[in-house]
């Protein structure tokens, strides 16, 4: 194709003489680009956060609270009895008493150090108090070392401050403190300044209770049962048995002992949904904003192009009379849109980067990956070309006779 047919020079000079409409569209494209790209980046980040694995067999796990109220309520007896009954129920894989539920929003955290003392570098981690059935119940696998033996589990009394001498930690925590799971094995960590705990095992993955926490993958297991009057059991069922088992467990626990109430049976799926509710809402909001902005921009382009085709009927007829083919006319409008979008995209790139810098600074959003910009630009160019196609086709179908007939 002959380049002179493209009329880029005259088109550009004509645009510069008719800035208002074109500038509005270019600015609209720029603003749309900045907001759409930044929103989309946030949506993708949030979605990736939501996809993170807690480590548990979430679909088949639930938890339930037991609260003793009777004066003669013996927590230690009650927990021992509950756990043995739970573990015998057909349909249940395993069950444990636990002090906090992963990704639920509430739990315990402690700081660990490699040397004793209060002036040393520490690493924060979530603490789960569990017994020797933890690995199977929480669906954890050992990366190194071993699990707890029944003899290693102690009883923690209410407001007892000290810690057991053994621990199992997650691989992420091991890497953060000792660079690898194998290096961590056998090491001593100091909890709460000076109490030593020896790492006897490293497990693949177990998330902390707080989904917004930067150390979400840092968790440690402490080998102990709790002699607390109010406590929670985490139950893992066989696949597909969860809902049935929830009812059976509730009934079994309610009838097995008196002097306590059983409540708050909750699935881990519900817990996940609740914890990520804000993220979900944010994603919905941003996707709505993105679609609305794209639609408005496309509508603006269709509007301006239709108006200008309408206004230029006689000029289009004249160009046809002077030798323009239908393709020449079609291409003219596509190219005009491309130039306007191009200016919008140059402006938009600046706006996108500017907005991202502001978001990073003020809202701690992760900086944008560079490829979002060319990808966003491409989407906007394509959207513009699609938007202008119908008006451009109308223009191409204007008869050359309009040169002499138009009013």
């Amino acid at each position: 194709m002959n380049l002179s047919r493209l009329e880029i020079g005259p088109l550009w000079r004509a645009l510069l003489r008719n800035k208002v409409g074109a500038s509005l569209i270019a600015i609209q494209v720029a603003v749309t680009m900045a907001i759409v790209i930044n929103s989309l980046a946030i949506v993708i980040q949030r979605d990736a956060m939501m996809q993170r694995d807690s480590g548990l067999d979430e679909d088949n796990t639930f938890y339930i609270t037991s609260t003793g109220y009777a004066n003669d309520f013996n927590a230690q007896v009650s927990v021992t009895d509950d756990l043995s009954r739970l573990r015998e129920m057909p349909g249940i894989v395993n069950a444990i008493q636990i002090n906090a539920i992963p990704i639920s929003g509430g739990g315990w955290s402690m700081s660990l150090a490699k040397t004793p003392g209060d002036d040393v570098e520490t690493t924060n981690t979530a603490v789960y108090m569990v017994d020797e059935n933890a690995l199977e119940t929480l669906d954890l696998s050992l990366v190194a070392g071993r699990e707890f033996t029944p003899q290693e589990i102690r009883w923690r009394q209410p407001s007892q401050p000290n810690w057991p001498s053994l621990t199992i930690i997650t691989e992420a925590l091991a890497k953060s403190m000792f660079d690898s799971a194998n290096n961590a094995l056998g090491q001593t960590v100091y909890i709460g300044d000076e109490e030593p705990m020896t790492i006897i095992g490293v497990v693949d993955q177990l998330q902390a209770p707080w989904v917004g926490w930067s150390n979400l993958e840092h968790s440690m297991l402490s080998p102990e049962n709790m002699a607390f009057t109010s406590t929670r059991y985490l139950v893992r069922t066989q696949a597909g048995q969860r809902d049935r088992m929830m009812l059976e467990v509730e009934e079994m626990l309610s009838s097995s002992q008196s002097g306590r109430i059983i409540r708050d049976t909750t699935t881990l799926t519900e817990t996940r949904d609740r914890s990520y509710q804000q993220h979900e809402a944010m994603i919905t909001l941003l996707l709505t904003v993105i679609s609305a902005l794209l639609l408005i921009t496309i509508a603006g382009i269709v509007g301006l192009a239709s108006f200008s085709v309408q206004k230029r009927q006689q000029h289009i007829g004249t160009k046809r009379a002077l030798g323009a083919t239908q393709i020449d006319i079609l291409r003219f409008f596509l190219l005009e849109n491309m130039l306007i979008s191009g200016v919008g995209i140059i402006l938009g790139t600046l706006c996108t980067v500017g907005l991202n810098i502001a978001l990073v600074q003020w809202f701690h959003v992760t900086p944008l990956a560079w490829y979002y910009i060319p990808a966003g630009a491409l989407v906007l160019i394509i959207a513009g070309q699609v938007a202008v196609l119908a008006p451009a086709k109308n223009a191409a179908s204007i008869s050359p006779a309009m040169a002499t007939r138009a009013i």
């Binding site: 002179s4 047919r5 005259p10 000029h315 004249t318 160009k319 002077l322 030798g323 239908q326």
Partner: protein, 225 residues
């Protein structure tokens, strides 16, 4: 050479049929300057549009420059218009967003000439109509007569065999009309065939040959006295 034999053109709108041309027969020889007159609505513009391949016809035969043009595709017609025909319109039809240089450039770009060739032709064309110094001006900065001169430069830039002009002086005062007429005569003398529709008998009289159209027919062919 432009030859129409028994051409008919009917416009059908909302079940109303208008016979714009009926058995229209006209032969224009190479190098002629033909003035077409006739009452309003008699079919002059329709004839010129068909002659310039801007419009199709219903029946009859039209031979342009030795070729039967009735079965050309739309893009072939564009090419013939671009290469062989220069149009001059009553309203000048300059593109208001383009300066004079770019206006004259329009048909040359569709012709596929390179930049240097186009520049040469544009400068030559604007010089020929006395507007060399105004190349960067917009049409709106010129008088009607000057705009029509630009339109003439645009029509001539591609060296067409035919100039088709529909009331080229219709929007000009008599002095400007006369100067445009002189320009057309000069062009005709250099060998370009011109067919001009006009309602001004004084101007028509200056053409080499007059035809009179009425009710879509060539009613009377008056030769120059």
């Amino acid at each position: 050479m432009l030859s129409m034999q028994d051409l008919s053109k009917t416009f059908t709108t909302d079940s109303v049929q208008t016979h714009a041309l009926r058995d229209f027969t006209l032969h224009v020889n190479e190098g002629e300057f033909v003035a077409v007159t006739g009452p309003s609505g008699s079919g002059k513009t329709t004839f010129l549009n068909i002659a310039g391949l801007l419009e199709s016809f219903n029946s009859g035969q039209y031979i342009l420059d030795g070729h039967d043009v009735s079965h050309l595709t739309d893009s072939q017609r564009s090419k013939v218009r671009n290469e062989k025909i220069g149009f001059i319109f009553q309203n000048f039809n300059l593109i208001p967003d383009l300066n004079l240089y770019d206006n004259v450039d329009v048909p040359l770009r569709y012709r596929g000439f390179n930049g240097a060739e186009r520049k040469r032709r544009i400068e030559e064309g604007l010089a020929q109509v006395g507007l060399s110094g105004r190349m960067k001006h917009l049409p709106s900065q010129l008088s009607g007569g000057q705009q029509q001169r630009v339109a003439i430069a645009r029509a001539l830039a591609g060296d067409p065999r035919f100039i088709l002009a529909d009331e080229p002086t219709g929007n000009l005062d008599s002095e400007m009309a006369q100067s445009v007429m002189q320009l057309l005569q000069a062009i005709n003398q250099q060998g370009t065939t011109i067919v001009m529709v006009t309602h001004d008998p004084a101007l028509a009289a200056q053409a080499g040959r007059n035809i009179f159209v009425q009710d879509g027919r060539v009613h009377e062919e008056a030769s120059l006295c």
